[in-house]
């Protein structure tokens, strides 16, 4: 089953479980981000990848330059493994990792989570790709994918026991929209998959196809 279908199924279940009031809070906020033209201001195809150095889950510094030296780079911003949609996406990306690597590309997932959460996420899903910690959402802001979590959403998270301040080791006021960026080896963004609706993600098959296209370009 495609990731999109799995997400859709989960979303329908969640709509019934949460009821219209809570679900409406999420819907309203997504509509607000859409109406304010949020994604118009994010980095897009043709833009340069911002240089970065971020700690990975195991406590090593990883730089964009070293990642690009290996070839094309896929950067997937996710919110954290507390989010079931993110968890489904992380696992779906794990399934296509051999195909990503076969295309000569490197995949990294980027989360604002800190405090040991990135390592726990990796271990929980047996991820074989890097999970980088975007401490204080600095890289997310450079991509323009970060938004201020409104009180209504923070309350809804709190009811589910999700403590963003703890997970981010301070603050916890910002989150990225889930976004998938594909850069070529020169550091130019070739594709940006952006959606303020956190329940929708880039289809892994489309990602593989896109990377195959980059490979053809190189030949």
């Amino acid at each position: 089953m495609k990731l999109g279908q799995r997400l859709e199924q989960f979303r329908e279940g969640s709509r019934q479980r949460l009821g219209p009031v809570v679900f409406g809070v999420y819907d309203q906020f997504i509509a607000h981000l859409r109406d304010s033209g949020f994604t118009d201001r994010c980095l897009k195809a043709g833009d340069r990848l911002p240089e970065f150095a971020l700690p990975n889950a195991e406590g090593r510094m990883i730089t964009s330059q070293e990642l690009l030296a290996r070839g094309p780079l896929v950067i997937s911003f996710f919110r954290g493994d507390w989010c079931p949609y993110c968890s489904m996406e992380l696992q779906a990306l794990s399934e296509i990792l051999p195909e990503i690597n076969l295309a000569g590309a490197t995949l990294v997932a980027v989360t604002p989570d800190t405090a040991g959460h990135p390592l726990r996420t990796k271990q929980r899903f047996g991820l074989q790709y890097e999970v980088l910690s975007d401490v204080d959402n600095g890289l997310g802001l450079r991509f323009g994918v970060v938004f201020l979590v409104p009180d209504s959403l923070r309350t809804a998270f709190g009811l589910k026991g999700i403590d963003l301040a703890q997970r981010h080791s301070g603050g916890g006021l910002f989150l990225p929209i889930p976004a998938t960026y594909v850069c070529d080896a020169t550091g130019t963004i070739r594709h940006a998959d952006l959606d303020p609706d956190y329940r929708r993600r880039m289809e892994p098959d489309d990602l593989v196809e896109l990377l195959a296209g980059l490979r053809v370009d190189r030949v």
Partner: protein, 307 residues
């Protein structure tokens, strides 16, 4: 949110004047005004009261300002850090530890910074909490590991590193080592080897006082080594933080419920510009913090209590 929107807002919060903020950011005033309007739209309300002669932050503006500052600094840092690693600059990290905190808690992040910055110089200092705070204040230290006792000054940035419990430590031949469970009454019959200026001993003392008992902290030591030596010589029993190794012939025993716990944070002085090495060090600590219960190379002697 965009990087430049935040930059404009921070300039505006500083100057409270659209003209001067635009000048500071090297943009036209209409461009700055538009960017702020977009930001306000996204954040869901005005950040500033615009009156003819007076520009003031709204409640939303005031509430989000420190967080916007933080994310802005972080965004600047991701770029500067990448550049600094490539340049392989030399750098110094001056880090302060409490006597009761092992250097083991920070060696992994330090070695990672040293791997990336081969010219790194580490200067490690040991002092009591008040002195460490003073040294941070006087710029004699870049970063310190402190116990979050609820009284840390506001001007310190701090991030939780780990929580740990305190255990009792005694000689393996001590009578307490043979007990199935230890009560406060048992402890009241013992002589303690104390740690100078230790707030956690006071917690235990208070727990005893509340039940009408008195603990006797007879000896007083300045270092963990001194404590271990006196306990090994059977001069008394002591408290020991969970992460510290306990060498033979000492054994570790659980404190009576509810026990004593402390939180260790990594702290820097707010508003001070740090080298990339220091920033990397703090970030690495925040992402992959030390786990006090994890097995270490020098295995502590664990004592299991029957029952």
């Amino acid at each position: 949110m965009e990087f430049h929107q935040i930059r404009y807002f921070l300039a505006l919060a500083r100057t409270l004047n659209f003209t001067r903020a635009a000048e500071a950011c090297n943009v036209t005033q209409p461009a700055l005004t538009r960017a702020i309007q977009k930001l306000e739209e996204e954040l869901g309300g005005p950040l500033l009261h615009r009156e003819r002669n007076l520009t003031q932050l709204t409640e939303l503006g005031r509430a989000t300002l420190p967080y916007l500052e933080k994310i802005y600094v972080a965004a600047e840092a991701t770029k500067a850090h990448a550049a600094s690693l490539l340049k392989q600059e030399t750098a110094t990290i001056r880090v302060g530890l409490l006597p009761s905190v092992s250097a083991r808690t920070i060696v992994q992040p330090l070695s990672e910074v040293a791997r990336r910055i081969p010219g790194l110089e580490v200067q490690m200092m040991q002092a009591r909490q008040g002195d460490l705070i003073q040294q941070l204040n006087e710029d004699a230290l870049d970063v310190a590991l402190l116990a979050d006792d609820g009284e840390l000054p506001e001007r310190l940035n701090r991030w939780p590193l780990f929580r740990e419990r305190y255990d009792l430590v005694c000689h393996a031949d001590h009578r307490l080592a043979g007990l199935a469970a230890i009560t406060l009454a048992e402890l009241a019959a013992e002589v303690f080897v104390g740690r100078q200026m230790c707030p956690y001993e006071n917690c235990l003392r208070k727990a005893a006082t509340d039940t009408g008992l008195k603990l006797r902290f007879v000896h007083s030591c300045a270092t963990e080594d001194q404590i271990a030596r006196l306990v090994a010589a059977n001069l008394g029993i002591a408290l020991v933080p969970e992460h510290l190794g306990v060498p033979a012939p000492l054994v570790r025993l659980p404190l009576p419920s509810p026990g004593v716990e402390r939180a260790i944070v990594v702290a820097t002085m707010h508003g001070r510009r740090h080298t990339s090495a220091v920033e990397h060090f703090v970030r690495l600590n925040r992402v992959h913090p030390f786990a006090p219960g994890a097995k270490s190379a020098s295995k502590p002697v664990e004592h299991s209590i029957a029952g």
